[in-house]
Symmetry: C2
Subunit: 325 residues, 2 copies
């Protein structure tokens, strides 16, 4: 038997929290009597939809960027993303007084491009049917001497994402379970590290959309499984395989994965809107969907939920509520 | 010159706050860098959309109900409302261990009827084209010996509504201005009492929809003016004349009224959704609309806003965003 040092520890998460202090928002933890009564538990919602850039992604991006050397920072940062990580890296760069180049598909939604450019980032587009965004970003980073910040495959990114769960647990004390959306696995890995590092008995529950069950399958197989690119409204979780680094953490710390359907996600978004009065994007609503649809078996009493983001524009929200995409 | 005692004082608001402690939520005060940059001020949003029943109305209803004698409470409470006051009185009755009868138009939205009935209230309907809801409620109250809690024409209701501004100012300290929606005038009167009682120089700004400018006209005329029943998406402010009691407070403490169009309200609701990630009903969005549309002249630096409620269902929100009603 060999013992290896985990790539991310509770101390790494705590260190990230110190770096994020005064830079990231300490987001509120919401309670709802209606929700508690419906699911039969005490639910604590950590609202990362109120985080800067509207999602937890700023935590990991800033933590990683803040550790670059002055020389690296002077040259600038690069990232590839069509989603929240793009805005997160752009804002982290601005906060640290440097520049960012973001590789985005040329058909990315106008609102996401505008928001990213609004933080001062340069946007480089590619054709997502023919181009490989990782290769393009790596070539660009090499050519210009930029530091590439990946969306989840990096210990500093994972540690940063774990700070949301750390703050939640500071406020609630010990919880019986923690529900977290699983996409690339960075938020899940960071959350589990923060939670199990303090409370080894806490039950960590990942939530994936039915079509994007790559982490569930991988956990069952004991190795990373690839699936076809999933078709789901949960665009932050439309990945076809878990990250190598994130899976190495999650196979150790993630107790189970629960799946939810797109309609259950739609219902959860509507519930959040009408009863909680908050805006939650599809991926961010998956844990709430798991609770409301009764998909978690033997639900314990005190349950934490990471509401990971709120970036959905009003028109798409209306389409989703009407059963569309 | 005669000096009369004001019907509601700062001490009355403080006393209401003591009664509401542990019963009403102490709602969060949100900040937004984006909003501040757009309007050129420091804006503090007191989020009563997160209040119980989704609006500030619970504060006044509970304060008034909590002052009934044990005999009155044993007989029960009555109210007339098709909106948030209905749910507020129903919940206040339940919290105090008594029953409520709510007079509602027979074509009130299903969701509002269900929510009110969900708190255990009995609903009595009337035809709003032929019936007089006040007369119906008064007759019912007399017949059954119920205590009638009006939506705004009562010192205890006004004092209760003022507790939101009291909490806001506790958190922010002195502000230069306070923006509040004006409907019947209870929230406005309570807010001004709380604000000017502590900071006589604070500028109190009421916001009405263009079509429902009865308080603006009345202030200009120096007496209560009646207008045709206004057609506006701000259903909480579709009143044709100010209350007698509320106007007696507002003519003394309300510095100015600003008007906003329905389209400006729609834009503000969308802004709240997309940038603040919160759900705000049309009436609750009027102060935000006034700020975003530049309708407030010489806007000072530190500005408080009462976001009064968030009761709009997802389907209506979609219709409103599409320019409908």
């Amino acid at each position: 038997m060999t013992t290896t040092t985990p790539p991310v520890t509770l101390d790494d998460v705590r260190d990230a929290a110190a770096r994020l202090k005064g830079v990231a928002h300490r987001t509120p933890v919401l309670r709802s009597r209606t929700l508690d009564a419906l699911v039969g538990a005490e639910v604590f919602l950590k609202c990362e939809n109120f985080q800067r850039v509207g999602a937890f992604k700023f935590r990991g991006a800033y933590n990683a960027a803040s550790r670059l050397t002055p020389d690296q920072l002077a040259r600038g940062i690069a990232a590839y993303s069509s989603g929240n990580h793009a805005q997160a890296v752009a804002l982290a760069a601005r906060e640290l007084g440097t520049t960012a180049v973001i590789v985005m598909p040329e058909d990315a939604p106008r609102s996401k491009r505008d928001a990213t450019a609004g933080y001062g980032a340069e946007i480089v587009t590619y054709d997502r049917y023919t181009g490989d965004r990782v290769a393009i970003a790596e070539a660009l980073a090499a050519e210009r001497g930029l530091a590439l910040i990946p969306p989840y495959e990096h210990p500093h990114v994972i540690a940063g994402q774990g700070t949301a769960a750390l703050e939640l647990l500071e406020e609630t004390g010990e919880l019986d379970a923690l529900l977290t959306p699983v996409g690339g696995g960075g938020l899940m890995a960071g959350s589990s590290t923060a939670a199990k590092g303090q409370y080894p008995d806490i039950r960590t529950i990942g939530v994936e959309p039915e079509a994007g069950d790559d982490t569930k399958r991988s956990l069952e197989a004991g190795r990373r499984i690839g699936i076809p690119v999933p078709k789901t409204i949960a665009d932050g979780q439309a990945l076809h395989t878990p990250g190598e680094l994130t899976f190495s953490v999650n196979r150790r710390l993630l107790d189970e994965v629960v799946l939810v359907s797109d309609d259950e996600i739609r219902d959860a978004m509507r519930f959040a809107f009408e009863r909680l009065k908050i805006v939650v994007e599809p991926s961010g609503a998956t844990p709430l969907a798991a609770l409301l649809s009764g998909r978690v078996s033997r639900l314990p009493r005190r349950v934490g939920v990471i509401v990971s983001g709120g970036n959905v524009d009003a028109d798409r929200f209306a389409r989703l509520c009407a059963g569309g995409e």
